[in-house]
Subunit: 163 residues, 2 copies
DNA sequence: CACCTTATTTGAAATTGGATGCTATAACTT
DNA sequence: AAGTTATAGCATCCAATTTCAAATAAGGTG
């Protein structure tokens, strides 16, 4: 599933609280599920389903189902950085938004507040409530943008009449 | 290919100009390629490779190769709206950036200037040069955001002490 | 504890969106 | 008209998921 969560985010300090919340919703705690959860609590950065399955020796189909389920219930969310697989992270852990350079693939995590001015402006202008948690802000990072500008200048030096 | 184009955009009024530009670059104009171009000139909105192949009776592999090539040469670009396949549009036709609601899947095309304030702010704050032509701005549209707010109010009315 | 219901796991197969290798063909070039 | 070589078509592969059927195992219940 690549959709945004339609539930309130649930951030937990530790596994036991998370497990309690899951149980309260009528979900069971299998070995696999606990392992996935434990790994997510351990991991600081977003990880792929593949990585989780590989690391834990759990079938990737189960991993996907678990992650999807945890996401449906607001404990986890995932982000698409670049072209690889989706990357999953515990809500509360690494609660970031991202800048992604589509030339050099650099990822810059941001604190959500840093983008509040942007969000405010988009809300004012278009009524949209945007987030860059699922898809990052995509463009050229400073150095790639600079490269572009130097290239443009050089080209102008060689072809001074073009524009 | 899901990467952003690394070439200057080439907008053309009509097929013949586009064809001339392609030939000038040593490319041939096959029947299939002409058909794809004609369809793109006809179509106002971005279309999927699947749609192009289906409509024209051309193998989708050829369609992908053509679209990719046209994109490499700056005549076409593609955008990812929602979760489906990439959607291709002639540069010049529908030169838009997009707002995408991830609840109701509404797409709102914007004129690039409308986002210049956003772009300026991101340049100032982070040095990034962003575009929303390849990936849209994603969030909740006004009505979905309103729904959320009403729901929050109702929930608060029922559980006045929760927060 | 034994039992029962039903959530969950597994492994395999199917799907989706797209890329690639190959050969026959069809565009340009001269 | 002949020679090059880009392209089309088809089959095949690919990564990232998703789905399916059968086996298993959680977590109540008596």
């Amino acid at each position: 599933m690549t959709t945004a969560p339609q539930v309130a985010a649930l951030a937990f300090e530790n596994i036991d609280d998370a497990v309690d919340a899951l149980r309260a919703r009528g979900l069971r705690l299998s070995i696999a599920r606990r392992m996935v959860l434990e790994l997510l609590f351990r991991e600081a950065d977003p990880v792929s389903a593949e990585h989780v399955g590989q690391t834990l020796g759990i079938d990737v189909a189960s991993v996907y189902r678990n992650l999807e389920m945890l996401e449906r219930h607001g404990l986890v969310h995932h982000v698409h950085l670049g072209h690889g697989p989706g990357l999953y992270v515990l809500v509360g852990r690494g609660e970031h938004e991202y800048l992604y350079c589509d030339r050099c693939a650099t990822v810059t995590p941001l604190e959500p507040e840093q983008l509040d001015p942007i969000r405010d402006r988009l809300r004012r202008d278009f009524g949209y409530e945007v987030r860059f948690t699922h898809f990052p802000l995509v463009g050229l990072c400073r150095s790639c943008a600079d490269e572009d500008r130097s290239a443009a200048v050089e080209s102008h030096a060689r072809h001074p009449h073009a524009h």
